[in-house]
């Protein structure tokens, strides 16, 4: 569906995107992950034909975006980092405009009604976009991207700046859309991709550093298990005790609570799982465990592991 070959973009002498190649099959949902300034937006802008590449190719369904832009662009729905909204239009006027702009051949009234329904914009259709809340503006942006039913959807940081409830709503929407669209979405939040994507592509400083199924992503990070434990015990003694425990690679004191308990982060050596050991050992010392939880790999961990 999408094929990127040796894509490179230089801004002056700085490579923003440096020789990236990957392909995305039909119906796949791919998360495009990287820290700010990694080249995510630049890649997406090239993929949608907004920017040209210095070298390399973007093929959309076999069509080169630079050679036959009109055909290729017709297949793509794009939500840029900042949704391109005309504040002086109402939601429906805006969607009608995009419908005409994309020269869509469907029945206009029905199609726009359907999109307004999917996006839950019914009450907002006659309101000026400038007056909508940020969450609704984002939804109008996504609605605009799905007008004319393009097969490919490209979302650049679709949940940035939204509150937690809106983030969940937008994720739900993306999950719904993923049933019959190929989706690429960029983000720098790991749980977000884990929540919606089948596959994760990680780029850093313009280079592709990982391309993995979401299920395997944790294995990219240090394999060593980490967890936090909150113990009701004197802080200093507990720390010394934990550090002496066999299999503990690193123990950090994190914080203390009013009830006299302390929170520690424990990293196990390879092959060790200290959770059971600690349970019995601390019980013996009569130091109750108030809470224990494993810490999944964070994006930072994966980065550190990958760029080591």
């Amino acid at each position: 569906m999408i094929k990127i070959e040796h894509l490179t973009k230089y801004y002056g002498n700085n490579p923003a995107v440096n020789d990236i190649s990957f392909s995305v099959g039909e119906g796949e949902v791919v998360g495009f992950l990287g820290p700010n300034g990694a080249g995510k937006s630049t890649t997406m802008n090239m993929l949608t034909g907004y920017l040209s590449s210095t070298s390399g190719k973007c093929l959309i369904n076999g069509i080169d975006i630079l050679e036959n832009p009109s055909e290729a662009k017709r297949l793509i729905g794009f939500l840029p980092e900042q949704p391109p909204l005309y504040y002086d239009m109402t939601t429906r006027e805006y969607l009608d405009f995009i419908f005409d702009l994309k020269r869509c051949t469907l029945n206009k009234r029905e199609h726009i009604d359907e999109i307004i329904g999917i996006m839950g914009l019914g009450e907002m259709e006659k309101r000026l976009i400038g007056q909508l809340s940020k969450g609704f503006k984002q939804r109008v942006g996504i609605a605009g991207a799905i007008v004319s039913n393009p097969k490919i959807l490209i979302f650049d940081e679709p949940t940035i700046g939204l509150d937690p409830r809106q983030i969940i709503e937008i994720r739900e929407l993306i999950r719904t859309l993923s049933k019959d669209h190929t989706i690429i979405l960029s983000t720098h939040i790991l749980p977000e991709v884990q929540a919606v994507c089948d596959r994760i592509i990680i780029i850093d400083r313009g280079k592709l550093i990982a391309d993995e199924k979401t299920d395997n992503i944790n294995s990219l990070a240090d394999e060593n298990r980490r967890f936090t434990v909150q113990i009701l015990a004197p802080k200093g003694e507990a720390l010394t005790f934990l550090r002496k425990t066999e299999g503990a690679a690193k123990v950090d004191y994190l914080s203390s609570a009013k009830d006299g308990s302390s929170l520690f982060m424990i990293q196990c050596k390879k092959g060790y799982d200290l959770r059971r050991t600690l349970f019995y050992a601390l019980a013996e010392k009569r130091w109750p465990i108030l809470e224990m939880s494993t810490v999944g790999a964070s994006l930072e961990d994966i980065f550190i592991a990958l760029t080591k």
């Binding site: 034909g49 907004y50 662009k73 017709r74 840029p80 391109p84």
Partner: protein
């Protein structure tokens, strides 16, 4: 392309810019008409009227063109247009034509000013037609200049001021050229002058070379706009 044209037309009249333009144009043109033509009585001639109207364009035309691209850039909406299945030339032409439509209709409307001439005097219709066609084309060229200035900035005010300056330059450039001793420079300035080419029309003669000249200013500036966008894309 039609979608963009329609959106621009709508935008002129949902924001008040369209109304402001029409009202100001009609007001200014009728004031000029009263002061120049009507006050001449029997021997009324429209040439000085149209000459001054052309000067008024320096202020009026930026009203129509300043937001065309500057605002798209400020609101980050140009990315929508540029990632849609529309060509760059299509986008620019659509916006140009929208501005031209509002301008030309207002200009046509302002021709009611001429009614008293036909009611109370004898008029040389050829002179009037010549003037109308050439002023229309000059306006067209100035709109293209405004479109170009608007694509260079995301600030409407900057777009407006640079357009005023550019139009003013086009208008006055020929006036002072006769005083310049250096012949090649004088020839160049005379060539660029919108004004020197206007002379024939005032005799009621249609000067084709002038018409082509005015039309080519439009093409050049629209082409430059396309180039600016292409360059930005490849930068």
């Amino acid at each position: 392309m039609l979608a963009i044209y329609k959106r621009e037309m709508r935008a002129y009249f949902t924001t008040f810019i369209g109304y402001v333009f029409i009202a100001t144009f009609l007001l200014v043109s009728s004031i000029i008409f009263v002061l120049t033509t009507l006050s001449q009585g029997e021997a009324a001639d429209v040439t000085s009227y149209y000459t001054l109207v052309m000067f008024a364009f320096a202020i009026l035309i930026p009203l129509l063109t300043m937001k065309l691209f500057a605002d798209e850039k400020r609101l980050r909406t140009e990315i929508l247009l540029l990632t849609s299945p529309v060509t760059l030339l299509g986008i620019i032409t659509a916006k140009f034509l929208a501005a031209l439509t509002v301008f030309a209709s207002t200009f046509a409307l302002s021709c009611v000013n001429l009614i008293p001439l036909y009611m109370y005097g004898s008029q040389n219709t050829a002179v009037i037609i010549g003037n109308v066609i050439s002023v229309l084309l000059v306006g067209c060229a100035f709109i293209a200049v405004g479109v170009f200035m608007s694509c260079l900035t995301e600030n409407q005010l900057v777009a407006a001021v640079t357009t005023i300056a550019a139009i003013a330059l086009f208008l006055v450039i020929g006036m002072y050229s006769s005083g310049i001793g250096f012949a090649p420079l004088r020839v160049v300035l005379d060539f660029l002058s919108v004004f020197n080419r206007f002379t024939y029309f005032t005799y009621g003669v249609i000067d084709w070379s002038a018409l082509i000249y005015y039309a080519s200013i439009s093409f050049v500036f629209l082409f430059l706009t396309v180039r600016v966008y292409e360059r930005r894309r490849w930068a």
